[in-house]
């Protein structure tokens, strides 16, 4: 085996000419612009006329030659599907990692382009791209890849059906603003003003109770009182209609976790052996069982939501050891986002069981979804239920509604409007399950 050549100072090698690669990842400290241009494609509108290929080839070869374009129209006459393959300008492009000559770069606008000076046409980018978007020109052998025509793509300009559109993503994220407001107001109401009312309160005919507390109550007293059942109805109906909105929008402890999570964005990581979402059902069962054995609502003593509501309010009386519960459990947020809600919270467990009857579902991966190139929904999901690996393979992940806290961060964040709320019985996302396997 040859010794690696020693570098001499006075000789310029290709190493000096090519852009430098940082150790391991070229994009390690690349900051993605908040709103970068990208092309959206609507297969429902596309007729497969091929104008995009014709005009795109003008940039590469100045003649009409669809084989030399950077966009490829795939037509499936049997299933009636037309689809345009083009570069999605990934946030973390795999082609950049694979390129041996570092000819591919991502500029400050987020546009990924091939520097033809350094490109040796080896085609490794085509091998690395999950969609194989860099296309080899069968005439010249060059690799052509969309560079968005510098921000004003010809294909978008000339598409007769307007199936291709240019987008820069959303400017204002109103769901985020609304959620934080609702969370802050409910925190104020439940913790500061109506101290302790979340667990149970009764005013004349109107009563309200926490469903988990109610279950323990039934277990402890071994009697079912109709009024207590009806008292939990508010949360049950809310959950069936809208999913676990309580967890995402109302829960005061969830608000505390979200605030801590915003303050400490870097997570330490959560031990693998504690990563089971079934734990919370175990805790729920344990709480009910313990209540039956001990004769009082045993979990409620250490419930972070309950202790927060009872012990921390302005009028609340300090309850000794209960004060320690909230900081202790809130510290899990440092390890993983909403770790408590994901794995342990029995209140959430009851609501999760109720979502099995729920009317709504979240759908990720509508036709405008950029799949592997974006995965921002997976980044922002506090419950970690959006499967990034499936997205990386170009498959739309199914969202387990029992784990979704309906915070709608995915919907808010998606720049392309590909995350949506749908009724349970509505059509989901494209892709036929049986045919998506390799």
């Amino acid at each position: 085996m040859a010794e690696p050549a020693k570098k001499q100072d006075n000789i310029i090698t290709l190493e000096d000419l090519r852009p430098r690669r940082k150790e391991r990842s070229y994009l390690a400290d690349y900051v993605m612009p908040a709103r970068h241009p990208n092309i959206l494609f609507d297969p429902g509108k596309c007729t497969g006329c091929g104008t995009c290929e014709m005009v795109c080839s003008l940039r590469n070869r100045s003649v009409i030659a669809p084989a030399s374009s950077s966009i490829k129209m795939l037509r499936d006459g049997e299933k009636g599907k037309n689809f345009a393959i083009y570069c999605q300008h990934c946030r973390k492009p795999l082609c950049i990692e694979a390129c041996p000559t570092r000819a591919i770069e991502k500029d400050e606008n987020g546009i990924v382009s091939i520097n033809k000076l350094f490109c040796v046409e080896c085609g490794l980018c085509t091998l690395a791209c999950p969609e194989s978007a860099p296309l080899r020109d069968s005439k010249t052998g060059e690799i052509n890849k969309c560079d968005l025509c510098g921000g004003d793509p010809l294909c978008v300009k000339h598409c007769p059906e307007k199936a291709l559109t240019l987008t820069r993503g959303k400017f204002f994220r109103w769901i985020k603003a609304a959620r934080w407001t609702v969370q802050a107001v409910s925190f104020l109401l439940l913790v500061m003003i109506f101290v302790g009312t979340f667990c149970f309160f009764k005013a004349g005919q109107v009563s309200f109770a926490c469903p988990t507390g109610m279950l323990q109550n039934i277990a402890a007293s071994k009697t079912i009182v109709l009024t207590t059942l009806s008292a939990t109805l508010a949360l049950i109906v809310l959950t069936i209609l809208l999913g676990r909105v309580f967890c995402g929008w109302i829960c005061p402890f969830g608000f505390v976790l979200d605030v801590i999570g915003t303050l400490i964005p870097k997570k330490l990581g959560w031990p693998r052996f504690l990563k089971s979402r079934l734990t919370k059902y175990g805790i729920l069962g344990g709480a009910v069982g313990a209540s039956a054995a001990l004769g009082f609502q045993s979990f409620c003593v250490v419930c972070p939501i309950g202790t927060l509501c009872r012990s921390y309010g302005a009028q609340g009386f300090m309850r000794g050891a209960e004060l320690a519960v909230v900081p202790l459990l809130a510290s899990t947020e440092i390890a993983q986002r909403r770790a408590w809600c994901r794995y342990f919270c029995p209140v959430g467990a009851v609501l999760a069981l109720l979502t099995k009857l729920g009317l709504l579902k979240i759908v990720i991966g509508a036709t405008s979804c950029k799949k592997f190139s974006c995965t921002q929904c997976a980044d922002v999901c506090p419950m970690g239920i959006i499967d990034r690996d499936l997205l990386r393979q170009g498959i739309s992940p199914k969202i387990p509604m029992s784990e979704c806290i309906m915070c709608m961060r995915c919907i808010d964040r998606c720049p392309y409007g590909a995350a949506k709320i749908r009724f349970r019985w509505q059509k989901g996302v494209p892709g036929i399950p049986g045919e998506t396997r390799i």
């Binding site: 040859a2 297969p43 499936d76 990692e97 490794l124 999950p130 990386r392 393979q393 998506t436």
Partner: protein
């Protein structure tokens, strides 16, 4: 039908290897130097061309299977030797002779589309990705596009 020897001769002639002046430009620009820590003279285009001129048995040579079939060496050669065409032609002959185990077969269409070491290099660069993504990257580009369409259209 031409015999294997004849085919090898034809490929060598068509690649123009006998004009080689051993200047080594092809090896200087070869991306393999950056891809493989084991890059050596035997693996380099210049080494492969030299072996071809000497009449060595390249078809059974492992070093034939590291090349990406890029355009770099062909582009800079002052003598018009195409190391790419040489490697491509010899690989075709090797595959015909049942020596294609170093060529990656697409699990979907069954076509040989890339050399295994090249594919391994790409996967090693993308080591952080999930196994499913690696599975997908072993599909040939044309099939991958089709697959993406069935998953998204």
């Amino acid at each position: 039908m031409e015999s294997t020897e004849q085919a090898v001769d034809r490929v060598k002639r068509e690649a123009g290897i006998y004009a080689c002046v051993e200047c080594g430009r092809c090896s200087a620009v070869c991306p393999m130097a950056e891809m493989y820590t084991t890059f050596s003279v035997a693996m380099s285009p210049r080494g492969v061309i030299k072996k071809a001129i000497m009449g060595d048995d390249l078809i059974h040579d492992v070093n034939l299977w590291y090349c990406t079939e890029c355009n770099a060496g062909t582009d800079v050669c002052p003598q018009g030797v195409s190391c790419r065409d040489l490697v491509r032609g010899l690989r075709e002959i090797a595959v015909k002779n049942g020596l294609g185990d170093k060529a990656q077969i697409c699990p979907r269409c069954g076509e040989r589309f890339v050399a295994v070491p090249v594919e391994e290099f790409v996967l090693s660069r993308l080591a952080g990705e999930a196994p499913g993504v690696h599975e997908l990257l072993k599909v040939c580009p044309a099939c991958r596009r089709d697959l993406y369409v069935t998953r998204n259209a």
